[in-house]
Amino acid sequence: MKDKVVIDLAHLPPHGLGTASQSWWGTLAFMLIEGTGFALAIVVYLYLMSLAPQWPLDAAPPDLVAGTTLTVFLVLSVLPNILVNRWARQQDLRKVRIGLIVMSLVGIVPLILRAFEFPAMHIKWDQNAYGSIVWVMLGLHTTHILTDLVETLVLTCLMFSRHADNPRRFGDVNDNAMYWNFVVATWLPMYACLYWVPRL
């Protein structure tokens, strides 16, 4: 049987960028999964609140300083992140390297601030259900910061290795930047929930 060739694909690029790549869609799908997880955590928080005679249960509302500083910092971190994203799209290796080093440092700061947030809650996870849910929400978000930080560090190393100058790597940097935006975006409703809902 002779093949009836009707299309020639030879002219296509050997790698898709952005929405033409599978990894972009894969990242999106994982964000959907984790976003559902975050949303459920908030729903559980509100559910427990709806049952409680007073909220927070046996605790003062959380102190605002650490959490608010962290929130402002996260929002600001989006700026360098967008720049790295742009440089990666321009495939500018030198600037991407600098940007990744900056983003690695940027990833460490929220972890330090987070260490002050847990005590600012005025409650431990094993005291009551309020304590349980706030610790789990903070913990859940912390693991996301941590994962993205490790990913950024590995990417930084990669970009200083012989594998660096490759559109595929720049695509990885784009996906990583998208993920950081996600980490920031999911924090905002969590912040509102943890710090302001108890003050309503």
Binding site: L9, P14, Q22, A29, T36, N128, A129, V136, H163
Partner: protein, 635 residues
Amino acid sequence: MTQDGDGLRDSSMEGSELHRRLTAIWSTPSGLWGALSTVDHKIIGRRYVTTAFVFLALGGVLSLLIRLQLAQPEARFIGPDRYNQIFTMHGTNMMFLFAVPVMQAMAIYLVPLMVGTRNIAFPRLNAFSYWVYLAGGLLLWIAFAVDTGPDVGWFAYVPLAGPEYGAGKRADIWAQMITFTEVSALAVAVEIVVTVFKQRAPGMSLDRIPLFVWSMLVTSFLVIMAMPAIMVASSSLILDRLVGTHFFNPAEGGDVLLWQHLFWFFGHPEVYIIFLPAVGMVSTIVATFTRRPVFGYLGMVMALIATGVLAFGLWVHHMFVAGLPRLGESFFTASSMAIAVPAGLQIFCWLATMWAGRPVFKTPFLFVIGFMVIFVIGGLTGVMVASVPFDTQVHDTYFVVAHFHYVLVGGAVFPLLGAVYYWFPKFTGRMMSETLGRWIFGLIFTGFNLTFFPMHILGLQGMPRRIYTYQPEMPWSGLNLFISLSAVILALGFLLFFVDAIRSARSGSLAPANPWGARTLEWATSSPPPPYNFARLPVVDRLDPLSDDIEAVPVASGLRVDRRELLTSSVVHASPEAREASPGDSIWPLWAALASTLMLIWSIFSPWAVVWGSIPLAITLIGWFWPKGVPEDEA
């Protein structure tokens, strides 16, 4: 041969040369190492299907033990503690280790072939998901073997499963098995979504996607939206049990109904995660054996999507007796009845197709007919229990056991068995026996109805589920004996099925590329397909790429033959976007799965496992993703 800027192309290569080069680049090396590091979706898919059927057999053995115990009143064969473990194991095993994985497994094998690509998206994640699934299954069964099997029912309600009543590690095993199977199910869902979105053959626009692929796409979205709920639930349960959180402890502001909400927000869609793939299988089989496309393609797709959306509005109907606001109950009753609409629509579309076509009654088609009969009965009792007063009466009785087996076995296992008969030649290159197939269908259909129909009556007579024995004064013993004897017929049918499958895989008659005269793309390549699936990627210009007036499927050329390469195409129109590399074999997914297993099992015993266990996991993940300088990494 053309040597463009990058790599060697297939453009002017002849058949045998092309085959030789593609085989060299795509095939899995023989031997243990090759088997452990393969990322071929066909090999992993076959492995997944086989493993899931082993779990079906194991779960079947448990149900026979149940029937043996209940055959007569006050039997001494199984004690109450073992009995609790057995029905919990049966339900958990069937839902989490058999039904969901087996549907995804069929998709892992079939979806890439049906959309005309060379491997699934993220093939290494696919390998990882299989190992994690296997580890979760082993965890559950090894725990059962050493008398630590979960004993809290397949939905592990608190407070029974909580720290106060669920002593020992049994409930933790259940909860962590959930983590294993959900991680693997979520991974597969992502792979399927991306494969369907980005790897369809050129020209396979949205309105030309085969119905089975549509059903798997909707199912994958259900997995993505529903499974996080059960992971949140099972993780909070473990936290309550391990580090003293109070999510489900009313004394400290927690709530036991929270568990039920979280569980059923997942648990009801779960039913559709099992059922929608089966619907896709039925549509495929009906189209082939009536020799015409399924009537109302658009309506079928809309029904799939509508079912998927409605599936999230139903969870509370599992909690009618828990005492909820009246308005809430009415809403959930209405939505539970509304879901019968898309289901009914699909049944009418199939009936119309059969009516208009000339059905050929081969074994796969027989199972489809069995499905329709049984599923309609299950649907009717479903509408019955959707009404609160009736549900209050039969809640936790054998009426419910009968209902959900009609839905699950009728709605999923029958189509699945039909699908196995239908696709077996593609999977193995050999046909299953038509004669035996008819016997098997007859035994399973008769055995099933004789076993489960009387359970409706037992339920109405008040026999509760999950009891390890009953007194002779109760009017239940006659029917119970009858049911247990009927279960033997059912078991014989399944036994014969396994015999036929194993025998045919070894020595069945050889299958041609397209034994049924079917019209979807998986039949456009040999049976079984070569490691690269298609020597040249098919090009699609209609809903039925293999319809009768076609001599040969048109194809595309221009891909490289010196690295694993496939095509990515646009989401809506499937117009070509890029030649994309597909990752080669790797042992790292196995290491990563082992590291995850270590961390998850350890964390049943100590919260520090999450800290220390994440280090090996991170190392294996870095090993997995670090570029190795292979041609697949070029861009």
